[in-house]
Subunit: 463 residues, 2 copies
């Protein structure tokens, strides 16, 4: 699809960009390496240049210059890129949006805010701290809201508050040909035309560049209670989760960490949790409501042999708990010197979660792979974090086999090949397996219609 | 965009269809009139023929024949069509899907079901009645689930359970060229590729024909409480609504009926409600939860001069209340002999709702128009039902002016030109005013990519 330019044209493109943007255009090896999407396990070329965009005008001009020179353009936020989503497979311009980090508008009466794409979720919640409101979507990393919209991020709170799909009301997008559009309104719902907002959310920068995001906010709950419950087996923890969801307990967070992950977290985050499969929980509501939820949940856990709920009473204890959960990636990484992590995810219908995790765990053990399992289990979504030696290609091959079988099994259960990491490079074949060639051809038709030159984040989503 | 065929080709198309479908193809004037999308206020040509599709094979074959003869095809459900959505502006084939009404699968463990497009919401809930589950989306009419997906329907429960956008997990769609695709999976969330499900939901049959729908289900709440609160003014009722939503009370239904509408409902549905602006309410939850919600709500209502909550204690009373609400359209129609109703809707950010309704009411009074106001006010969504004499064109012109000003004002408030009726013919210019020509050009690019011959429900959404 892409009409990638030869090096001579590429040099001209860089010269044009340099003339247009001066010091905002960075060419150093170090900065380009930082923007190569390497946090994941996918290898990458370096982008030819990095532009620190300061305004939407920069974005428009960059798109015009790239279009004129057939130069790929990769919008770049905080850079998590677990599936090679930011990899500059054909070089090109990495458009860094993290400098566009103004909070444009907080509208507490309508519980809506509008931010530039480079605002991070922590920055937003810091800004909101005196408003009584918060933005719940929390993928762990301190991601930018533009990046979170691009990958349809979700995370720990999604079981209660939904994903970016549910919480983005509108996007400001610059199209491949440099036009600025607004995809929605501030109304809570609309039946006006095709859902362009939903189309751009999760499109991984392949259809346009998101420059601003209008988001739903939520009232900070009157009461928040967090804690942990341990189980003899992952199965028991998962069964407890399934039953709690089926009963409609509106848990705000329900996160599974297997024994290996707890061990890693104890070491990395100086905790002293029992090294058993554990659910990290949070309940939001009125004081009575939270007690009711915790009590109902406790009964279900008990029925599955779980421990009593160990409540994190102080705010500091609660924060420590979630910080440890958010450090799971780095905790797993520290299990082995110089290890690299390959983090993959699937999502299955909730009642199939025990089947899916059990099969994957058995596969990991059978293969003798080193891996932890953590999951946003209330959504039926979990991650396998392979702890790998970068110099042992056979370990990577074993992990690839487990990943492939995990996805294939999830699909037979009615699940999806990725709950929140998105497709990038790594899940392109999985996407075809999941949706079928005809559905993918419709996605490709949208791609061609929006980006006929194929310059926006090429090599992603489509094989 | 459409390459509409001359009458000779049209006759050939009808012959081909007749050969292929025999008695399933209906040509009588009466049936074609029934399928002309006339329930709304838009005039229409008749379709050339009506096909009672019995299976997806019929749909595929119909699309092939229509494509071969440049024959428009209009997918048809229960036929509400408030904005001329089903109008056969260029004739063509009306593809009636109401015969495809099998419930394919109820999966209580995952709280998911799969139905053919012609299943109605009442049929589905009847089928679910012993399962402990229900499907909450309720646009009033006993619509088909395919039609509800096509128009991104919502209705009375949307304030708590969301709209069709939030509750369709996946769609089976036949494309313009007769291929069958599945847009999603059964997972609660997915980050796998473009959101085709979201793209087809609300596309009004212009991108493909929806043949089956996978839906989220919900546990029937342990406790349901319904009732009414009356107010001295619409403003007071709306302020109460705004404050309840801002406080995060999870009302399941919060419906405004103005005094004129209550009067109409009293007459039509044999009620004896005080003829004042009234909120119809429903709370879902545990017994304690419902009491807490009702008590909090009562305090807010009292602060705005509202009456005590008059609780519909018996199930029969509750059903009578909601039946009366659902009959609002016919109640308004009966206000005047031989009247026709023009029902229009807008949706604004919740805190702007009082402004929007007040401006519209003042405009109605200034113009001396006869109209009732009812609304899903918890979403910021309301309807004006103009009660018009079909033989008095000047009345329709006055209504058109009020509608135009209502939409224009809603857009200045950050709202949308339609919360749930969708664009059809009637809101095409409004859509351009709302989103801008560049955003519409992206929608049109999707339309061209999916339906290059322009045969699927032509003349809708796009001017």
């Amino acid at each position: 699809m892409a009409t990638i330019s030869p090096q001579s044209t590429r040099n001209e493109a860089v010269s044009s960009l340099s003339r247009a943007f001066g010091e905002k255009l960075l060419l150093s090896q170090a900065v380009r390496e930082q923007h190569s999407g390497l946090e994941g396990h996918h290898t990458s070329r370096l982008p030819d240049a990095v532009l620190n965009a300061a305004s939407i005008n920069d974005v428009v001009e960059a798109l015009h210059i790239c279009a004129a020179h057939d130069m790929p353009l990769i919008a770049h936020g905080a850079g998590t890129s677990l599936e090679g989503n930011l990899s500059a497979v054909s070089g090109g311009l990495s458009l860094d949006l993290t400098g566009m980090n103004r909070i444009l508008d907080v509208d507490p009466e309508n519980m809506i805010c509008r931010v530039e794409a480079g605002v991070t979720r922590e920055q937003l919640n810091q800004e909101l701290r005196h408003s009584g409101l918060f933005f719940p979507i929390d993928p762990g990393a301190n991601a930018t809201l533009g990046g979170m919209a691009s990958t349809r991020a979700s995370g720990t709170n999604a079981v209660r508050y939904g994903t970016m799909r549910d919480n983005v009301l509108s996007l400001e997008v610059v199209t491949a040909d440099g036009r600025i559009i607004e995809t929605g309104t501030r109304a809570a719902k609309s039946a006006a035309g095709y859902d362009l907002t939903g189309l751009f959310v999760g499109s991984e920068g392949t259809l346009g560049v998101i420059t601003a995001v209008t988001l739903r906010l939520y009232g900070i709950p009157q009461c928040t209670m967090a804690g942990t419950v341990t189980f003899a087996s992952v199965d028991d923890a998962v069964l407890t989760t399934i039953q709690a969801i089926q009963l409609g307990i509106p848990v705000a967070r329900i996160e599974l960490l297997d024994a290996a992950q707890i061990k890693a977290c104890n070491a990395y985050s100086q905790l002293s949790l029992a090294e058993q499969p554990t659910l990290f929980l949070e309940f939001h509501g009125t004081e009575d409501g939270v007690s009711e939820q915790a009590s109902l949940f406790g009964q279900i856990a008990k029925g599955n042999g779980g421990s009593e709920l160990s409540v994190a009473v102080q705010v500091e204890d609660r924060n420590k708990l979630w910080k440890a959960r958010h450090s799971a990636y780095f905790a797993s990484k520290s299990l082995r010197p110089n290890a690299r992590i390959w983090s993959t995810d699937v999502c299955v219908p909730i009642a199939k979660l025990a089947d899916s995790i059990a099969a994957t765990r058995a596969d990991i053990e059978r293969c003798g792979a080193q891996a932890t399992i953590v999951g946003h289990v209330g959504d039926g979504n979990y991650h396998v974090l392979f702890v790998l030696d970068p110099n042992q290609p056979e370990e990577w091959e074993v992990a690839a086999g487990i990943n492939e079988r995990m996805v294939a099994h999830a699909l037979t259960l009615g699940g999806t090949c990725t709950g929140e990491h998105s497709v990038g490079i790594g899940k392109r074949q999985c996407l075809v397996d999941e949706r079928g060639a005809d559905a993918i051809s419709l996605m490709a038709a949208v791609k061609r219609a929006f980006d006929p030159q194929g310059l926006l984040n090429p090599g992603k989503i489509f094989l």
